[in-house]
Symmetry: C2
Subunit: 148 residues, 2 copies
């Protein structure tokens, strides 16, 4: 079963961000919620097209921008020049681990020390205000598969 397939209509509408909720945006949000892992805009477009016939790419780009603004989607890097996103409705500060085998994504707590504990940055005279962290590795299934 897919991770979010039970995501209900109300949650999807909220996930769309501010503004009107069109049939298209709802379909795009549903597709995003059902993605197995990190995905590019055109992968999302393909997937959402099964739901919404005739959906344009530009519409997906606009919907993705809106969902990214409101925090429903998060950028987790890129692959072959295409930006990768994950569906992410968790609150609070956290990061993601991406499986390099199958693309599956999991949220993880931020493992960085708080405050001034980033000693070497402080030594260099910097006050750290923000950071980007993405972990890569193998999920349980892919690890098992590669061990065989």
């Amino acid at each position: 079963m897919t991770q979010h397939q039970e995501t209900n209509d109300a949650a999807l509408r909220k996930a769309c961000g501010s503004g009107r909720v069109s049939t298209q945006r709802l379909g795009i949000a549903r597709a995003a919620a059902n993605m197995a892992g990190a995905f590019s805009v055109d992968e999302l477009h393909h997937s959402a097209c099964e739901d919404v016939a005739g959906l344009g790419v530009a519409t997906v780009y606009r919907a993705v921008a809106s969902m990214t603004d409101c925090g429903t989607l998060t950028v987790v890097g890129e692959r072959d020049g295409r930006t990768l996103y994950v569906w992410c409705t968790d609150d609070g500060h956290h990061h993601h681990v991406i499986c390099t085998g199958c693309g599956k994504v999991a949220g993880i707590d931020c493992p960085l020390p708080k405050g001034d504990a980033l000693v070497s940055a402080t030594e260099a005279g910097f006050t750290v205000t923000r950071h980007d962290l993405t972990l890569y590795g193998l999920c349980a299934a892919c690890r098992e598969r590669s061990a065989r």
Copy 2:
């Protein structure tokens, strides 16, 4: 004074990576070494042009690819759709802090716990093999400037 202006010819030739060391690549390497912080390919191109007249952008792209391959340059993110690089000849595993005020960059030790200590990733069933981390903040000079 600039951070690396003393970088000598031998070091620059090595920094170019494998292959032949042309006048152009040497100029590009010198320009990269003298960049104050993170830079895009076209900023590097502009800078290197002062040294090497008539330098083509494609040449810079090819040189950057070569230097990135050999570890002399590292990607530290992007700005307005342009990939950002830093000159980085430090050995060993480390990351960078980028000043959001002036673009200055400093290398820092990796603050992540080693091995299986990434508890929440392990709990999610992942074996972490690699990570990308970039810190953002203000350098001493910019902090002081903004406090005034």
